[in-house]
Symmetry: C2
């Protein structure tokens, strides 16, 4: 496989390809043309060929793509099915919604524990995950070699908590706080979900369409 | 203002600029250089100048940007403060988390009602928003000329509900169902939040960093 850096834009499209390939595999389909795949994911065939060429040559003229080869390649690139260990920080509505919405088991991620500072939440179980006191967090991360922390805590303490996570050896942070957090000079990966920004992207589209008519 | 199409990438950065400009305005600061603004939002000065040049010329050599002018321009482009009317479909955890997380009032959006099919949720009030029966939805949208629907319902019925919304004259759909929905040939704007895709983007980064070391 090519060892080049794949652009974030292509990376963001890979899951969409994967969902389609999963459906195809489930239906017993072994190969697919770029044109057929394009139709399924709502893109053009040439865009798909270009995306896939970023990480190697999988297609064959006149044959198309082998579904299983492509699935394995994308799964490998995305780092899925590596059994990463995950914790949730902040067991409020947003944290609960994330646990509910994301099918961690499907990708063999293990959500080991949730943590919260509010006494009334400690001891609860949400989506089969026990909520522990925030005071136990540092020891827990080190003992279990936790890989990923999902950040669903308040804005004001977000960066402080991130610094603590990094000190304890976390490798990735999924940030739902709505503020930018920095991994500093560390090697820790940060991915932020800015829900409000996406909403304003919608109102921009509405606004533009209104201006056109 | 230039009437060109601004790239989605630039649009997605605009809210970040706006939050910084809001902070500056609140602190009584009237102008800022591209370098100073760059530092605040974690980008380069030249990237900022390039972004702003997409929608007009606001900066002046040696003077920088006027904070208020820039705020108004971005607010105008994003279609904020137009008093758009919003409804929520699906008053489960995800719907509740969205209502809680997004500061609709700040942008003068009015969340008029929520709708759900589950009898036990109808009549509840979440974040000051009343949950009505899904059966009342069509009439409600037309009576109140609702602009935007937030979709927090199950995957299986997502497209059907979208078709219904479009028939009733909705202008924008904010899609949290995790499946792609299509506005067909209509002029309706759709913005999807794919939470799982963002998670896989994080695992890709972790995986790549592990491969590098």
């Amino acid at each position: 496989m090519k060892k080049t850096n794949i652009s974030p834009k292509v990376i963001r499209r890979l899951p969409r390809y994967l969902w389609s390939l999963d459906d195809l595999a489930e239906a017993g389909i072994e190969r697919i043309s770029s044109g057929e795949l394009a139709e399924r994911v709502g893109m053009t065939a040439s865009q798909i060929r270009q995306d896939f060429s970023c990480f190697g040559e999988f297609g064959q003229q006149g044959y198309g793509y082998n579904v299983e080869t492509l699935r394995k390649a994308i799964t490998g690139i995305l780092g899925i099915c590596k059994g990463y260990k995950v914790i949730l920080l902040g067991a409020g509505r947003i944290g609960q919604a994330v646990l509910e919405q994301v099918d961690f088991q499907r990708f063999r991620f293990h959500v080991l524990s949730a943590f919260d500072i509010r006494p009334e939440r400690i001891g609860l179980t949400i989506c089969d995950v026990l909520v522990r006191s925030e005071e136990e967090m540092d020891d827990f991360i080190r003992e279990h070699s936790v890989d990923i922390a999902i950040l669903c805590i308040g804005r004001t303490c977000a960066q402080k908590v991130v610094d603590r996570l990094i000190t304890n050896g976390i490798r990735g942070i999924w940030n739902f706080t709505g503020v930018e957090v920095s991994a500093g000079k560390s090697d820790v990966a940060v991915e932020s979900v800015h829900v409000t920004d996406s909403f304003l992207s919608l109102t921009y589209q509405i606004n533009r369409k209104a201006a056109e008519t």
